[in-house]
Symmetry: C2
Subunit: 248 residues, 2 copies
DNA sequence: CGCAGAATTGATACATCTCAAGCTGGGTGG
DNA sequence: CCACCCAGCTTGAGATGTATCAATTCTGCG
């Protein structure tokens, strides 16, 4: 469990990779120091469940590195992903005792955690944290609503193109390849996880990816490495306004 | 436009029907008085568009009475409802210049509005407002995620049953008929609006409602008045855990 | 009355699911 | 080093649920 050496895990908030995007991004030096005192890191291996839906949770936290998914499952096993947690995303809800969704590490994952009670106290005393959390929550709400359009009204091909464009866009914003026509990235999800995200079966995901490849919209190297020769073309396939979603 | 007489519109916050649920619900008397000074009411007729997606918005506000919908539309006309706004729900996003979605009055509607700038200033100075808005936003996010499961993984019949159970539940919580086996309510939406909510066509909505009627899950009086003889039965049809969604 | 919007119902088309068979690439043990 | 294995993925053929197109019926209202 403690397989990550201390060297891999940031300890100084000043050097934290998510310093400027996470829930703490608006904190002043003194506030950061107080947070520093109540924070602790947890590591998870790919595939591990971080939180089980319905369980009591005593912590909240931020994804520092790696990717996790938020999923809902019906009794008969049908599952729907309802969120994709990337570095800087916040996990857990202040003021709620038990988790609403399963959180599963898709890759190896490091989280910066706070016990819930101290964090809630800190939040009440620190407007900059509450403000930032509100802003992040509003962004997530917009993303969820964007996704409702995908789930409710788009075809399988458009769904795949939408997912690829979102991953491509987020990836670009991290690497500063924003305005390039061509974009290159790795899929962080299995076909099955994509299916759960898109409300499809994995077979349909596979077929549509093959179709996009056949039509030259994307080029695959191996199963996971994606090259998009013309990102605007992908956006058109996604059914999005070509000027790019304003919200994602 | 000013067809609502002054008598119909509440002016005193103390008598406001959404006083204890809206964004102002945690305000003290003095805070309420300050809000009172910057608030104003707007009325809309059924069918009127309150806000157009993409337009600059200079106000935010709460639904006081009536129902509105939040919808997204693709260029080719496919539309998806992404929110249903009932009394006390908040409209608009502090800190954003333009609207992300169309807001349309489904019934006659009264809103309690604030110009955005004064409201933002007030929010910065009044933690109780910011806190309540965060809480409401988190609730909306949960509702949106619940809906993603409905859109992505449920059958048409389950979708209809889910919608009916949500309306029935909200209605019950307003009228205190919480634990009755039988529930009675009016549908606030046309078949087409239901279809837009559920990611279906109106024909499919109609067929599935007929099927639920035929199977005795619901009884209809006219097109809009619904009687649910056994609410648990409806929840089973919705594919929900029978102990009721914890979140909605 | 008779019109218009809303809803229902029917017949058919089609997209996606389901079930089933094979493929691929990386790891393991003989 | 090779044979094997296995999870992840691809592809095919047929079944099925929902959309589409079209024709009525209902309901409220001028």
């Amino acid at each position: 469990m403690l397989r990550n050496s201390a060297a891999e895990i940031p300890h100084d908030c000043g050097e934290c990779p998510i310093r400027h995007r996470a829930v703490c991004s608006r904190c002043e030096a003194d506030e950061l120091e107080r947070l520093d005192q109540i924070k602790y890191y947890r590591s998870f291996q790919a595939g591990q469940t971080v939180i089980w839906a319905g369980d009591r949770t005593d912590f909240v936290g931020s994804v520092v590195t790696g990717i996790a998914t938020l999923t809902q499952t019906m009794e008969d096993g049908r599952t729907q992903m309802v969120g994709l947690l990337l570095p800087s995303d916040f996990v857990g809800r202040p003021g709620r005792a038990s988790a609403a969704y399963d959180v599963v590490a898709t890759s190896d994952l490091v989280m910066c955690c706070f016990r819930k009670k101290p964090f809630e106290d800190m939040m009440a005393a620190t407007p900059s944290i509450a403000q930032r959390l509100l802003e992040m929550t509003l962004d997530e709400l917009d993303a969820a609503r964007e996704w409702m359009l995908v789930l409710g009204r788009k075809t399988a091909r458009e769904k795949i193109a939408s997912l690829l464009s979102i991953i491509g866009r987020r990836n670009a914003s991290m690497n500063g390849q924003e305005n390039t026509r061509e974009r290159v990235f790795d899929l962080p999800l299995t076909r099955e996880a994509m299916a759960d995200y898109l409300g499809l079966t994995l077979e349909t995901v596979s077929r549509q990816i093959s179709a996009l490849k056949r039509d030259g919209v994307i080029v695959l190297e191996g199963k996971r490495h994606v090259i998009v020769p013309d990102f605007d073309r992908l956006l058109i396939e996604a059914g999005d306004d070509c000027d790019g979603g304003l919200l994602t």
